[in-house]
Symmetry: C2
Subunit: 408 residues, 2 copies
């Protein structure tokens, strides 16, 4: 089935965001993953961190060896400069720099940047083309606008924890901590891209607002449309339907099948050697298969238990029925389909040596971008970046002495 196709990226041009500069005040996850996406797409991202220890994300998930997968995954491709935003000289420095940037990104609580003196109005007064992008917890309006939030709180409030737990009455679950942050980040990046596009056409910057809560609701827009129309949560079962779910095979591995379209039913029957069921009036059409799903699932449980997942997968592929093995995270780094598409790539890390990392999932043929350099040490670029931005050496050294800046 391997298609013969010319390799992509014959024209190794720069990233789509080449030349775009992001002044990045983000911390934790929702902000940092978004600015990593922008860095992958070619933007230069200068991360501003607190001299006292920097982004708290540097310490999250840190193992006994000192490695933080959280930090490494969310901050590649960035430079780090340390500026103390609690000191007036630090704020003055930021204000002096902002006209050299295209985007300011932050995910403080709503109102925090204003209290620093770095709100949109203050920055726009220095640079009317600036795109000011905030990723908040709750949105910028409403009773909770300035309340603290985190990933799991958005999963809870948005109905996601309830629905993934099984629906009303079931114990709510957070089956994937961080998903609200990561989805928020993807939409935060999209919002900044939309504003950059608009600025090319209008010449004007603007404010971009994305939140954990808003993105979690967008993620569920179809299920929520059901709730709005029918007044109740859409039911959720272990398998969406007997022909859209996973079954345990003889080797203990699970195989996922998805045959929504009617055309897949006879193929499934053929692949599973149960052709006698193809025209069974209970199962011949989708409505019947769903109405009689307990009987059909029991049949399929028995059938799949007869052979290994690999054997069934081969048979399903032979009849062109959608199917896939259930893998664990430890299988991803050697998955040939993943590697063939550069969804996981290998890089050299100055401290940790050769390692794998998730590659670019948004792939552009002419402006491909690249996986950036590993996440920076705290303040590694303070002197270098400030010099490059034209800040006077004497001022930098003075601010370093005063503890307003920190280098390396």
């Amino acid at each position: 089935m391997t298609p013969e196709r010319a390799p992509r990226r014959l024209l190794a041009m720069a990233g789509a965001l080449d030349g775009i500069r992001v002044l990045d005040f983000t911390r934790y996850q929702q902000g940092p993953y978004a600015t990593t996406m922008l860095a992958d797409l070619g933007a230069r991202v200068v991360k501003v961190e607190d001299p006292a220890g920097g982004d708290y994300g540097r310490r999250l998930w840190r193992g006994a060896d000192g490695y933080s997968p959280f930090w490494e995954a969310l901050n590649r491709g960035k430079e780090s400069i340390c500026i103390d935003l609690k000191k007036a000289d630090g704020i003055a420095l930021v204000l002096d720099l902002v006209d050299q940037f295209d985007v300011v990104a932050e995910n403080f609580r709503t109102g925090a940047m204003e209290r620093f003196g770095l709100g949109y109005d203050a920055l726009r007064a220095r640079n009317e083309r600036i795109i000011y992008a905030q990723a908040s917890g709750w949105g910028t309006l409403g009773p909770l606008a300035e309340a603290p939030s985190f990933d799991q709180i958005a999963q809870a409030r948005s109905g996601f924890a309830q629905h993934t737990g099984g629906g009303p009455g079931a114990i709510p679950q957070v089956p994937y901590p961080g998903i609200a942050d990561h989805v928020g980040a993807m939409n935060f990046a999209a919002g900044i891209l939309a504003a950059l596009f608009a600025r090319e056409r209008t010449g004007r910057g603007q404010r971009v607002d994305v939140s954990l809560l808003g993105s979690q609701l967008a993620l569920q827009s179809a299920e929520l449309q059901h709730a709005f129309h029918y007044g109740e949560q859409r039911p959720r079962e272990f398998r969406s339907s007997p022909t859209a779910g996973h079954y345990r095979c003889s080797d203990g591995h699970w195989l996922m099948i998805v045959g929504i379209d009617q055309k897949f039913w006879p193929r499934l029957c053929k692949a599973l050697e149960m052709e006698h069921l193809a025209d069974d009036p209970r199962f011949a059409r989708g409505g019947g298969r769903f109405a009689n799903r307990e009987a059909l699932q029991a049949t399929l449980d028995g059938v799949f238990a007869k052979r290994t997942a690999g054997e069934w997968l081969e048979r399903l592929q032979a009849v062109d029925h959608p199917a896939g093995i259930v893998q664990g995270h430890e299988d991803i780094g050697t998955d040939p389909q993943v590697l063939a598409n550069d969804y996981v790539v290998t890089r050299k890390h100055p401290r940790w040596g050769t390692e794998q990392t998730v590659g670019l999932h948004i792939q552009l043929s002419e402006t491909p971008g690249k996986v950036g350099s590993p996440a920076p040490a705290l303040g590694a670029n303070t002197r270098g970046v400030l010099r490059e931005l034209g800040v006077d050496d004497a001022r930098v050294e003075s601010l370093l002495r005063d503890g307003v800046l920190r280098d390396g």
Copy 2:
């Protein structure tokens, strides 16, 4: 806590993508939700459907009353024209139209558009500025490039189903069917936005590739970084930690708390009237709280069971500790925080009357976009759009007679 702030959108300018035209061949979910996002942002999206019945998504989740929340949520803001792509006259018509569009979007299997004669090379020959955007299941390279896939298959292959089930050895779960599609869609939209931005600067179109598999891996980039580094899946428990998880309260409702930062611990102890634990050597620091999490969780289970979720929430808010109620989908339409940010809005549907729908989650101050008109009837715009694009009336009527087109 309600902040006083000027309302957004004093300048009700057009959407960021005003004037951008998308020729939309997408079906099901990953493609359609992306082009709905583009429509919300101001693009004109002309959806091309099969005259025999259109997008299969029209029929998914359809209730006894004929309403499909799936279709309505994923296709608002679009026009529908019906062209039979299995007929040469249909293909010729598409090729004649493509120079009036900025973006062609599709989520067929890799290779399908080429077989129609509508691959990137064929379209670029008609319009060198075209952005050709494909959302696939598996990426465009590798052994599975042309294999079928659906949402749950990507959840399975990417490790998501395994991880959300509890990790290796546990029964895999698909706690939210459709999440791979929706996340893929968000990244598909972001990829198209990046290409549109690049085109403003380079004058050149390009190919955009996003897939279910690639987006699912990106969604898990932090967890996967753990697996790459440590060689095993990161453990997952019911609660991430005793102070980041949900607890059942006396009224049966669940409350989510997230106190990662050390500063929240004394606040939690105060709000929960357990100040005696604040300096308890077992719990005083994060490491101890995690090591002794069973004891602490048991304590918290008991404490939360003493009052209602609303009472505890009020106390936690009073000390500025991050917390949120666990809601169901049926709570979202009346949530004041959701409504205050227009995350859910009310619209008029010509068939279904006044109804709620998820609003714009990417909010831009100067080019706000808008929730588009409800999803179109099949072929509702065939005559009107083709006339507007300059197709000769006689040709349209002839193609309608031949069944190549269908109107309304």
